[in-house]
């Protein structure tokens, strides 16, 4: 098997530099790219859903969400992306070989596929984050409708995007297909420019 270790680069390399952009003297949005997250898609095998729930609970101490929500224990998160489908993610020491670790623990009950290099992941916060997201996110993000731990798979500027609400600061995590990163960045920065935004070094 070919190893690509050491060849990791962000799809935003060459496109983005840390700094302040847009409106001078104001920072409405903070953008931080997350390069340290590993992802694996998890799809329950037919008739194995309950066995999978038990296996995930035993292996990771996580209660699999039965809707569009995320559940975290330590550095491992499972987010519900569809019926019998989840995206598992990990950072820190769990990230290395994450998909293989997941497959080793729950493989009899689920199809597990490595998605680590497939996604652009941005963490967004700041006083105007909701105003920025309102320009492209067709899902109601009002505090009464979308709470910390909720996620939504939707379409932002014609790009399939997963939105996770991490906390009520609020902080959101957006994941878009890696191949669409340039277009996604274009939408995000055009939408944030009027408020001013800071790109934080990863």
């Amino acid at each position: 098997m070919v190893s690509f270790a050491g060849l990791e680069r962000s799809t935003l390399d060459g496109l983005v530099r840390p700094g302040h952009y847009g409106r001078a003297g104001a920072t409405g949005l903070l953008i931080e790219e997350r390069r340290d997250l590993a992802f694996a898609s998890v799809t329950a095998k037919r008739g194995k859903r309950f066995a999978l729930v038990n296996a995930v609970n035993t292996a990771f101490g996580v209660a699999l969400p039965d809707g569009p929500r995320r559940a975290t224990r330590g550095s491992v998160t499972f987010a519900g992306t569809g019926p019998d489908q989840w995206i598992a993610s990990a950072d820190g020491s769990e990230a290395a070989g994450f998909a293989n670790k997941v497959r080793a623990r729950i493989g009899p009950f689920a199809a597990v596929s490595d998605q680590s290099d497939a996604r652009l992941v941005l963490r967004l916060s700041g006083p105007r984050v909701c105003d920025v997201l309102a320009k492209g996110v067709p899902v109601d993000l009002h505090a009464q409708a979308f709470k910390p731990g909720d996620i939504a798979c939707t379409v932002v500027s014609y790009i399939n995007t997963q939105i996770d609400m991490l906390d009520d600061a609020p902080t959101y995590q957006l994941a878009a297909p890696r191949s669409m990163a340039g277009s996604f960045w274009s939408w995000l920065t055009a939408s944030a420019a009027e408020f001013g935004y800071d790109v934080i070094a990863p």
């Binding site: 809707g67 569009p68 992306t81 569809g82 019926p83 489908q85 067709p138 899902v139 939504a152 798979c153 939707t154 379409v155 399939n160």
Partner: protein
């Protein structure tokens, strides 16, 4: 038009792809008159004024096939269920 996805909640119809009539069934190819039955199955569709059961794919969300009951006169949606595990 917004479709209340049973997994994701209400979403705009631009997240979905329309397939059409959810009630047609593939005929038995061994049966007498199978040729005519297949002609009808592949090409002929009713165009009802009122309630219509139809397949929508939520490609922009949970990637599920849904059976949507929609009033073709008003676009009112009275029922949405997952196609998988249902009667289809």
């Amino acid at each position: 038009m917004r479709i209340p996805c049973p997994y994701c909640g209400p979403r705009g119809n631009d997240e979905f792809i329309y397939l059409g009539d959810a009630t047609v069934r593939r005929p038995d190819p061994q049966a007498l008159g199978a040729s005519d039955a297949f002609y009808e199955y592949v090409y002929l569709r009713d165009n009802p004024s009122g309630l219509h059961q139809e397949l929508w794919y939520h490609g922009g969300g949970c990637r599920s096939w849904l059976v949507v009951t929609r009033n073709t006169r008003t676009h009112e949606i009275s029922d949405v269920t997952f196609a998988a595990g249902g009667k289809l």
